[in-house]
């Protein structure tokens, strides 16, 4: 499947936006892990802004960055939201409440608990009525999201915003499902090349045992293995190098059992 990248969003520990992170991803600047700063999206109406939970803030920040770079009105763009989990804070609070005698969940908390809450808030904020899929595949959620987004581009000819995010649970869930840092990324993918294209991706599934692409920097490698969405880091690094004038690269991501997602990252076609 061939897709063209028109916009990139990124927010994670020590990675404050795509523009500021490019030199870190190419290895030209040192990586320093500082906590991710989240704020409610200015795109949301006041009521939804007040109700927005951390995963909504994270996903909307990276989605908005990628759309702005692509120069696209998000109302015209289909979306794929990928995450290993619903909002961790919300799920914790609901589970905590249900373990008490009262069991009184707040209605806002309940609607924020659905896996597609970020997609719902995004649709309200951007007035987008285009199709949206919210999916999950545990540690392979980013890879699954990229596959689905690429299939929408390739099979349906849609322009698609892939928005992926994962963040840690509070205790006690953190101990049984540790997730390192709050990390989100977004890609705007198009079926045809445009003058705004940053790169071209050729995506395929193989049955090979090609070695997975890892991060050279120890801190970024820890983030890659510690946060499901950060499995995207090798792809983002290759994109940073190609955008800086580097030659094409091949990125290999895990797709168990026994599969690989192989992505050839090249200059705009």
């Amino acid at each position: 499947m061939q897709v063209h990248v028109e916009g990139i969003g990124l927010l994670g520990p020590g990675l404050a936006g795509w523009a500021d992170s490019r030199a870190i991803l190419t290895g030209d600047s040192p990586y320093v892990a500082t906590p991710t700063v989240l704020s409610a999206s200015p795109l949301l109406p006041p009521a939804e802004r007040r109700r927005s939970v951390p995963t909504v803030k994270l996903s909307m920040a990276v989605g908005a960055e990628a759309m702005e770079q692509a120069g696209r009105d998000p109302a015209t763009v289909a979306t794929v939201f990928a995450s290993s989990s619903g909002d961790p804070d919300t799920l914790h609070q609901i589970l905590d409440t249900l373990a008490t005698e009262e069991r009184e969940i707040s209605p806002t908390r309940f609607h924020n608990s659905v896996h597609n809450a970020p997609a719902g808030y995004w649709s309200i904020a951007t007035r987008s009525r285009e199709p949206s899929t919210s999916l999950s595949a545990h540690d392979e959620s980013f890879q699954a999201g990229l596959l689905e987004a690429a299939a929408e581009v390739a099979a349906d000819g849609w322009t698609v915003g892939l928005i992926a995010y994962d963040m840690p649970y509070p205790e006690p869930l953190n101990r049984v499902r540790p997730i390192a840092g709050s990390f989100g990324t977004a890609l705007v993918l198009t079926p045809q090349p445009t003058d705004r294209c940053l790169a071209c991706l050729d995506i395929d599934i193989t049955r090979g045992d090609e070695p997975l692409t890892r991060m050279a920097d120890i801190g970024l490698e820890a983030l890659r293995t510690g946060n499901p969405t950060a499995r995207a880091l090798p792809l983002l690094s290759a994109l940073a190098r190609v955008c800086a004038g580097g030659g094409h690269e091949t990125v290999v991501l895990d797709l168990p059992p026994g599969g690989r997602l192989v992505i050839r990252v090249g200059s705009p076609c």
Binding site: H111, S113, T126, S134
Partner: protein, 389 residues
């Protein structure tokens, strides 16, 4: 394809219940839940034993999925497809809204009073994790193609048909298992209660006195394959799929049914069909005041007032993340048998609603049926099934 809901396990039991007007809603006695409501609970779920090698996936949701995999020769049909295409060429695209969260609910009650730690036998990845369902089903069926769980609230197991169709069209697989499972849990029972959307009586879609949803659980699966050049006689085709968002509110549908209408229009366009080509619509029809009114408006403005429509949630309850697949299979059963299902508790049709809503069963030949599924976050999906062209 296979189906399980509170009205029965398997296609025959489901059809028998629909023919005889036997609903599955009963006063709620689930777990420790103290709510004045009726629910559609699947019988015998506590007796299901997962295969020994998959015991780590033990939770209500995966048991429900397993029960559905055993119905209607489904697992055998998938095994034949696996032999035909190769395990890595069969994808798994499933939906659930709450996966095995009941396991986490019970684990939170059993936290260590001193440390707050969850019990040692709680396994997050194989139960609570949203992706657990696809992981379990893929292993259970011995498949190695691309797999993920779509969790777009109550539209989710309708949307997976579109996901699978795209993956097949893009050449990522040759066939796919679609469907999913959503099981009863405290989160949704108390959550819908908090929204004041739960009816004290068995739900009455499109009734003037309708008073909200009855929750239920269900599961179902279908095997989708690339269209053969000469499809077998009697094979049912996914003719079109349409998806949209309301862009309106997190838990209330657009009052004019704009998103619902857009999903139906896109499904018709995808199928290359006109509104008059649809012989029956299985509605989302949850029996909330606003939801039924919005869907009625979308239906009448797009299809007019002559197409027979009904909601089968009076039988099964609202099976949430499983509603898409349960009602897709009910729609296909209608197409195959000519039985157009009525609506058990609906007595006095709301005069403000103008669709041709069926209270009693009818029979007749159908060529194309549509099924609607809408969810929180304003997520909408509409599917059209019919005979091969």
């Amino acid at each position: 394809m296979s189906i399980v809901s509170s009205i029965g396990a398997g296609q025959d039991a489901t059809l028998d219940a629909l023919r005889n007007g036997r609903g599955g809603l009963k006063p709620c006695s689930f777990e420790t839940v103290m709510l004045d409501t009726h629910i559609g609970e699947v019988e015998g779920l506590d007796d299901v034993r997962l295969p020994a090698e998959l015991a780590g996936y033990e939770c209500r949701n995966n048991r429900l999925a397993d029960m559905a995999l055993r119905q209607d020769g489904f697992a055998e049909a998938v095994a034949a497809a696996r032999d035909r295409y190769g395990a890595h060429r069969v994808g798994v695209f499933l939906g659930t809204s709450t996966s095995g969260i009941l396991s986490a609910e019970l684990a939170f009650r059993a936290r260590d009073p001193r440390t707050g730690a969850l019990p040692a036998d709680f396994s997050f990845a194989t139960t609570h994790s949203t992706g657990s369902l696809a992981d379990f089903v893929r292993r259970r069926l011995g498949l190695e193609g691309p797999a993920f769980v779509v969790s777009s609230a109550c539209a989710t197991t309708s949307k997976v048909f579109a996901n699978a169709a795209r993956m097949i069209a893009a050449g990522m697989c040759d066939a796919a298992v679609v469907g999913g499972a959503d099981s009863l849990c405290l989160t949704t029972l108390y959550g819908f209660h908090s929204l004041e959307l739960v009816s004290p009586t068995p739900c009455r879609p499109f009734d003037a006195q309708r008073s909200g949803v009855s929750l239920g659980e269900g599961a179902g699966f279908a095997l989708l394959e690339r269209v053969a050049s000469r499809p077998a006689l009697g094979s049912v085709h996914l003719l079109g799929a349409g998806e949209s968002n309301d862009a309106h509110h997190m838990s209330t549908p657009h009052p004019e049914g704009l998103g619902a209408r857009l999903a139906m229009e896109r499904a018709l366009a995808d199928a290359g069909l006109q509104p008059r080509d649809i012989d029956y619509v299985n509605l989302h029809g949850t029996a909330t005041t606003y939801g039924d009114a919005a869907e009625d408006r979308a239906i009448t403005e797009l299809l007019g007032t002559r197409t027979p429509v009904s909601s089968t949630k009076g039988y099964t309850g609202h099976t949430l993340g499983a509603a898409g697949i349960v009602e897709a299979i009910v729609s296909i059963l209608a197409l195959r048998t000519g039985l157009i299902p009525g609506s058990p508790q609906t007595r006095n049709l709301d005069p403000a609603l103008r669709s041709r809503y069926l209270q009693a069963n009818e029979t007749g030949r159908m060529d194309r049926v549509m099924t609607n599924s809408f969810g929180f976050g304003g997520s909408n999906s509409s599917l059209i099934f019919g005979w091969a062209a």
